[in-house]
Amino acid sequence: MSVIIILMIASICVAAMFLGLFIRSIKKGQYDDEVSPPVRILFDDKPSSLHKESKPNQ
């Protein structure tokens, strides 16, 4: 019996953790804009300043 209770508490804690993460992601604005992040991730972050110095004419 006691095992079940421990398991139950554990399972609810895990679920609550996910709920917490979900709430945090809403607060951080993850659901405000669903278009740009998938595009943004595809941009190569070139070390542009270095790039510029090595090839000043381009």
């Binding site: 709920l19 405000d32 669903e34 190569d44 381009q58």
Partner: protein
């Protein structure tokens, strides 16, 4: 400059066809503006911009006035625009309507590479906004705006920005949904022992499960469900039982009875059913909200007007915000600026584009001493006007304010709300009948049966069928770039029996594309000369002539002169060629209507006349033919009746054609139709239709760009999708059938549930299976059916 070109080249920056080609850096550009954007990016090593998408820029042919953003140096204007400021940073959000592709996103987020003062910039793509954080010790707000403008993203700052901060998206429903989902899933899990039959010896364990359920249901009841309480309560306050009322009743009873059962130790209650209802209903609401986030249907004139204008004072010009304009002030209106208040021209010659207000597509010339109305856009040159009416009193703004007669309690007409009433009435009669029956036969079962009836008779399947079908239809229409304000609009569109079209900008493209030529035959050499001259001007008529001439070779033009509103002149291959109004070309004025014709003379000799016609959208004849079968059609136009014959041919007999209508006259025309008992749909574009759009049962605003500003309306339709209008209307009609079908199914579920409930044998297990099963199956049915119908209508 390249003089000859074998084929038309497209601009490296914007992809437009180049009339005059500017070569730089081995690339072709159509204008200096595009070239300078390229050079700015090239200098900073940011040519990735051109690699992410092809020709990502927008044409820069119309230059932005240099001190356009001077008003951003004013403290009080800054204060109302910025979001946050401390010693080092300023946070500001700009609306950038030109944003359209992933290249834009990349460039705007790399602003810091163009200017040291910019710390970060983050784009919200659906809203076309950029949040920019900059160091105001290094760069001013004005400089940031000018930086954006210099790379082709001119911030749109309107009077509306002064009034309120842009509200961020309401996230509360998402929180509620998250909480409800968490509780619902856990309650389900913890209810299993109860359903599967736990050993009676383990009474302690049973109680632990029950109390845990009770605790988990509290956030659902007190937090997630508040959405419905407030809606039901506001309905009740207006003495109106809306669809949320029976849901709230059900939640209350299910919760009350479950708490009682748990506390008295008589049973496990119906917590899972309750949490399930709340969860599913919230899913519907969240999906519905999502479709509409970025669209604004509630625009008023302030979204169109600039924030500030230049006030002419004796000592020095001053920049004032619009609300501060007083009578008898003298305003300086720059080229391409909107006239903010009615006034008299005191200096300069005005050429005013009223297309925004009247739908008339060609600019009107006004002389000193004449009155100009707010809403017109000065096209070329600067003018000064003396204000004769304050901004809020102007002709245009008054028109907006007049239509503030909102359609109240429109929900009452709704099919679902009507059903909700019947539903509630029937539900109560069943509950009472059950109560009486058990009171007579077995009083101990009364309480049990009545509460069970109220719990299981769930209007949620009915409501879900409606929310989900509507939501899905809204999404399907949205995918086809037809955006409805809300679900009610679907029903309204289905009920329409009379359709009114605006002409300019709706049936026509609003551009003068069709050219007729009368006069001496043009030799191919002369054509080439005319084309060379016309290519020098950006006037829509010059462009149309250029297109009509269809010659790609050019001569060099010398001594080019352009007189605003009059015409152009230049020496091409030793011939003086003039193109323009009759007065400009011949020096006389004979014909009455010279607005839509351009005269051509070579060496002072009149050669011929180009006449212009509005270009009707290609698909219009087909659409009108389809619509004619089922609807009566009117055309309302602010223009003259020059195209009456053509329209009559298009529409056939028995349809109303009204010309020379002022914005109010359009509104009254709609009102008159409504008084004949007709359900009117109005389709229009400019502000001149704003009154009519609001008055109509369904007002659809046509927009060339789905995110550009449109007048307040029930729906926004992208111009090139107008041809699908007939299918859209059909889809709206089909919507009702789907809802009805789903409703029948939900009634069947209810009958099954109720048959258990009235006998007093509804176990929590049956309720727990029945509720999610009905919700899910309704969901699948509505999705499947509406998608199937959309497919049949060949909608995406």
């Amino acid at each position: 400059m390249a003089k000859t070109a074998q084929q038309t080249l497209s601009c490296y920056h914007c992809g437009d066809e180049c009339n005059t080609i500017i070569k730089a850096h081995e690339k072709n550009f159509c204008c200096e503006g595009c070239r300078s954007v390229y050079e700015i990016l090239n200098k900073n090593g940011m040519c990735d911009y051109y690699e992410i998408s092809n020709n990502p820029g927008l044409s820069q042919r119309i230059k932005v006035r240099e001190d356009k953003f001077a008003f951003l140096d004013e403290e009080n204007i800054q204060a109302s625009l910025i979001n946050f400021r401390d010693d080092e940073q300023t946070h500001v959000t700009f609306y950038l309507p030109q944003m359209h592709c992933s290249s834009c996103l990349w460039l705007l987020e790399n602003l810091y590479r163009l200017n040291d003062g910019v710390i970060t910039s983050k784009v919200n793509f659906p809203r076309k906004e950029a949040d920019i954080i900059f160091d105001h010790n290094k760069v001013s707000l004005r400089k940031v705006a000018e930086l954006l403008t210099s790379i082709g993203y001119e911030p749109y700052i309107s009077l509306n920005n002064l009034k309120k901060k842009t509200t961020s998206y309401d996230r509360s429903k998402l929180f509620k949904l998250g909480v409800a989902g968490f509780c619902f899933a856990n309650i389900m899990l913890l209810s299993f022992p109860e359903y599967l039959g736990i050993d009676t010896k383990e009474q302690g364990l049973v109680n632990i499960f029950r109390y845990l359920n009770l605790i988990l249901s509290l956030p659902v009841f007190f937090y997630s469900a508040t959405e419905f309480y407030s809606s039901a309560w506001s309905g009740l306050k207006h003495r109106f039982l809306n669809i949320d009322a029976p849901i709230v009743l059900e939640i209350l009873i299910a919760f009350g009875r479950s708490v009682y059962e748990v506390l008295s130790g008589t049973g496990g209650g119906y917590f899972d059913s309750m949490a399930g209802i709340v969860f599913f209903m919230l899913v519907g609401r969240v999906l519905q909200d999502k479709v509409y986030r970025q669209l604004s249907f509630e625009r008023d004139y302030t979204s169109y007007f600039p924030v500030a204008v230049t006030l002419v004072k004796e000592e020095k010009d001053e920049i004032v915000t619009l609300p501060d304009i007083k009578l008898d002030d003298t305003l300086l209106i720059h080229s391409q600026e909107l006239i903010p208040a009615d006034g008299i021209i005191t200096k300069g010659k005005a050429l005013i584009d009223y297309s925004f207000v009247t739908g008339e597509s060609l600019p009107v010339a006004k002389e000193m001493g004449e009155i100009v109305y707010a809403g017109g856009k000065q096209v070329e040159g600067n003018i000064e006007i003396l204000v004769i009416k304050e901004v809020a009193q102007s002709y245009l703004t008054k028109l907006w304010n007049k239509e503030e007669k909102q359609r109240v309690v429109e929900n009452e007409r709704s099919f679902v709300h009507m059903m909700a009433r019947y539903f509630t009435v029937i539900l109560f009669s069943i509950a009472i009948a059950a109560a009486i029956y058990w009171q007579i036969n077995d009083p101990s079962k009364t309480w049990n049966a009545v509460t069970a009836v109220l719990i299981v008779a769930c209007p949620c399947a009915l409501l879900l069928s409606n929310t989900f079908t509507n939501g899905n239809v809204l999404r399907i229409l949205g995918r086809n770039e037809f955006y409805l304000r809300n679900a009610q609009t679907i029903e309204d569109i289905a009920a329409v029996d009379h359709i009114v079209f605006d002409k300019t900008g709706t049936l026509t493209t609003g551009r003068y594309n069709d050219v007729d030529y009368n006069g001496q035959t043009l030799s191919s050499d002369l054509k080439k000369k005319i084309a060379s001259l016309a290519a020098q001007s950006t006037h829509p008529m010059s462009k149309a002539i250029l297109k009509w001439l269809d010659v790609s070779q050019r001569y060099t033009v010398q001594g080019f002169k352009e007189k605003a509103g009059k015409g152009i002149e230049g020496i091409v291959a030793e011939d003086v060629i003039s193109l323009g109004s009759e007065l400009f070309v011949t020096g006389n004025r004979h014909s009455k209507n010279n607005q839509s014709s351009v005269y051509l003379s070579v060496e002072g000799e009149l050669i011929g006349v180009f006449t212009f016609r509005n270009h009707y959208r290609d698909e219009i004849p087909v659409l009108l033919r389809k619509l004619q079968k089922n609807y009566s059609i009117s055309v309302l136009s602010g223009d003259n009746d020059g195209e009456k014959n053509y329209l009559e041919r298009l529409l056939g007999k028995g349809h109303q054609l009204l010309f020379n209508k002022s914005p109010e006259a359009k509104l009254y025309a709609i009102e008159a139709l409504q008084q004949q008992g007709k359900k009117v749909m109005m389709i229009g574009d400019g502000l001149n239709d704003a009154g009519a759009l609001k008055q109509a049962d369904v007002g659809i605003a046509i927009s060339e760009e789905s995110n550009s500003f449109t007048p307040a309306s029930d729906a926004i339709l992208k111009a090139d999708k107008l041809k699908y209008l007939y299918s859209f209307i059909k889809a709206c009609k089909a919507n009702k059938k789907v809802v009805l079908f789903a409703f029948v199914i939900s009634v069947l579920y209810n009958i099954v549930g109720l048959s258990f409930a009235v006998q007093g044998t509804l176990s929590p297990l049956i309720a727990a299976i029945l509720m999610p099963a009905s919700s899910l199956s309704i969901l699948l049915i509505t999705f499947g059916m509406s998608n199937f119908l959309a497919n049949r209508l060949r909608l995406k």
